[in-house]
């Protein structure tokens, strides 16, 4: 069985930052592997270690810089990686779900995986929709927000727990081929070992343009246009305690005593 795991390099915003147009200024951004994808990678690698999977391929959409992120997936045990990027994507400020679906569907067509794992959402744009949209596009079954997976290779069934709201989990059997969107907490993502990091250097990261995967610029035409970005106006009327740690702690202690919760 082949597992395809999608990973995304996400941007994290510094505590203090400035918005320039419809973007956060580049110097305030730090890039990292998307938190949810880290768990998806781990789940894929465990499927390989436990037997059902023979190969784990990781795919990302991103510029050359994203190689750094995808190397983390390789260092943790993915066998090889595909990175899709194209000049046509350079100027797009919001990669919408449809675009990502088109690009990933084309990669699925080439790779023919049995199982696709994605993160539930990306920490930056937080659409939370790509996995399920992709599943529908490629005609796979799917399950969203999966926090437990028991894979029966003989039956071709993934028995999953979907984490609903309020401490309730739904138990579902899903026929493979399928796309599962992976929730944090499903496993304990490993740290990349030094050996893994060294090995990752020699693993293949295949860069692909739109043409390489049989698409043209139409595939990245989006109906979504970001028209503004701003810091949300705080409706807060919070009283912020001023002073050094001992002063602020003193004032906080006073409030706690006043409220009668601590003596």
């Amino acid at each position: 069985m082949k597992v395809l795991v999608t990973v995304k390099e996400v941007a994290e915003v510094a505590d203090d930052f400035e918005i320039e147009g419809t973007e956060v200024g580049e110097r305030y951004l730090e890039y990292d592997l998307n938190e949810w994808d880290d768990y998806a990678v781990e789940e894929a690698v465990q499927l390989k270690e436990d037997g059902p999977a023979d190969e784990v391929v990781s795919v990302t959409i991103g510029p050359e810089r994203a190689d750094e992120t995808i190397r983390m997936a390789l260092a943790k045990g993915a066998d090889r990686a595909v990175r899709v990027w194209d000049d046509a994507l350079e100027g797009v400020d919001l990669l919408d779900v449809e675009t990502k679906t088109n690009l990933l569907a084309a990669v699925v067509e080439e790779e023919e995986p049995d199982l696709v794992l994605t993160g539930v959402q990306a920490g930056d744009d937080a659409f939370g929709a790509t996995g399920v949209s992709l599943a529908d596009e490629i005609g796979f079954q799917w399950g969203a927000v999966v926090n437990a997976l028991d894979f029966d290779a003989d039956e071709g069934v993934a028995s999953v727990h979907r984490e609903l709201e309020g401490g309730v989990e739904e138990l579902t059997d899903i026929d493979v081929p399928a796309v599962l969107t992976i929730q944090t907490g499903i496993n304990e993502p490993r740290y990349a070992s030094l050996r893994g990091i060294r090995q990752a250097q020699s693993k293949e990261i295949a860069p692909k343009t739109l043409a390489d995967i049989g698409l043209d610029a139409d595939a990245v035409e989006s109906d979504l246009t970001m028209t503004s970005m701003y810091e949300p106006e705080s409706e807060s009327d919070a009283e912020i305690f001023e002073g050094d740690a001992s002063e602020t702690a003193g004032k906080l202690a006073e409030v706690l005593r006043e409220k009668g919760v601590a003596q």
Partner: protein, 316 residues
């Protein structure tokens, strides 16, 4: 005329709050666009729910009886059929866990542009959606083009529709294939155990700001010194540092203590969903822009490793 089709949600026999919130959001859109508000309730006791969903502002309620519990294939097919029949401008769906399990498929199948987790919507010359990015640090407005669109709305952002409406209620007959590739086999409650944090009067809640498990005893000392109950955000539980029954939030517990002291917690929407009903909210965070300060009554912009030891001293 531009109609809106809003999809409701129920689980294990009960309508969920967001069902009344999509009515409010849908009515607002329908008013702005001069159309009708159609509501759909799919599976389970669909016909039984219809009366309760007939609230002020609803023009039509369509019930689809196929399916017992939620199944994304049934939902997707039902909405596809409703869309073909009603030809609405906008399909509104909840950005709930189940919404995330069918809305993207609906949008893809109907070839609709999709904007998820909307915290604001506006229908002017075109549809504009307000969304957050980077863990609520920035807000964006997004113009959603095309002739028809799909939007999922964040829970608790719109008020629940009230009153009794005079909607036309009818059974919608859709040709649905229930022999689907995914089958719900049951439900499981998680997070029982030693303490019930939803009973606590004073919760001290710890988040990823603690950095390492080795730092947890510092917070436990504070909990002991103040006779509080310890809870946490999700990453602490994901890391296995505290059991699941301590998790506050959308997928954890909803808590309503007298005082909620959030230490090193950013205030992500799924966390806030579980604690915003607390009487008094206090936050300690190094980031003055952390969203937790938006809902806090008191705050300290500072390093927990400096503030917490001082606080412990206050109570020893």
């Amino acid at each position: 005329m531009t109609d809106v089709l809003a999809i409701t949600e129920h689980r294990r026999g009960d309508l969920r709050d967001v069902s009344y919130e999509v009515i409010t959001a849908g009515r607002q859109l329908a008013d702005e666009s001069g159309g009708d508000l159609h509501l759909a309730v799919i599976s389970g006791n669909a016909t039984g729910f219809a009366d309760d969903l007939n609230r002020e502002g609803v023009d039509y309620v369509h019930t689809v009886s196929e399916g017992e519990e939620f199944n994304h294939d049934v939902y997707t097919q039902a909405i596809e059929a409703l869309h073909a029949e009603l030809d609405p401008e906008v399909v509104l769906m909840p950005n709930s866990v189940n919404g995330l399990d069918y809305a993207p498929a609906v949008a893809n199948r109907l070839d609709l542009p999709l904007a998820t987790d909307a915290v604001g919507i506006e229908y002017g010359d075109s549809l504009t959606v307000t969304r957050e990015m980077y863990g609520s640090k920035v807000e964006t407005t997004v113009e959603v083009g095309g002739d028809q669109q799909a939007v999922t709305i964040r829970g608790a952002e719109w008020s629940a529709a009230e009153g009794v409406g005079d909607a036309e209620i009818s059974e919608f007959e859709a040709d649905i294939d229930t022999d689907t590739g995914s089958r719900v086999t049951g439900f499981e409650e998680v997070g029982g155990g030693d303490v019930d944090i939803s009973d606590a009067e004073f919760l001290i809640s710890i988040g990823r700001g603690i950095e390492e498990e080795e730092n947890l005893p510092l917070i436990e000392d504070l909990v002991e010194a103040t006779d509080a109950t310890l809870s946490s955000s999700r990453p602490i539980v994901d890391n296995g540092w505290l059991p699941k029954n301590r998790q506050v939030g959308q997928s954890g517990k909803v808590v309503t203590p007298d005082v909620y002291l959030a230490i090193g917690i950013s205030g992500a929407v799924q966390h806030v969903a579980g604690m915003k009903g607390s009487d008094t909210i206090i936050a300690i965070n190094t980031d003055p822009n952390a969203p937790i300060f938006d809902i806090a009554d008191y705050g300290i912009v500072g390093d927990l490793f400096e503030v917490v030891p001082e606080l412990i001293e206050q109570f020893e």
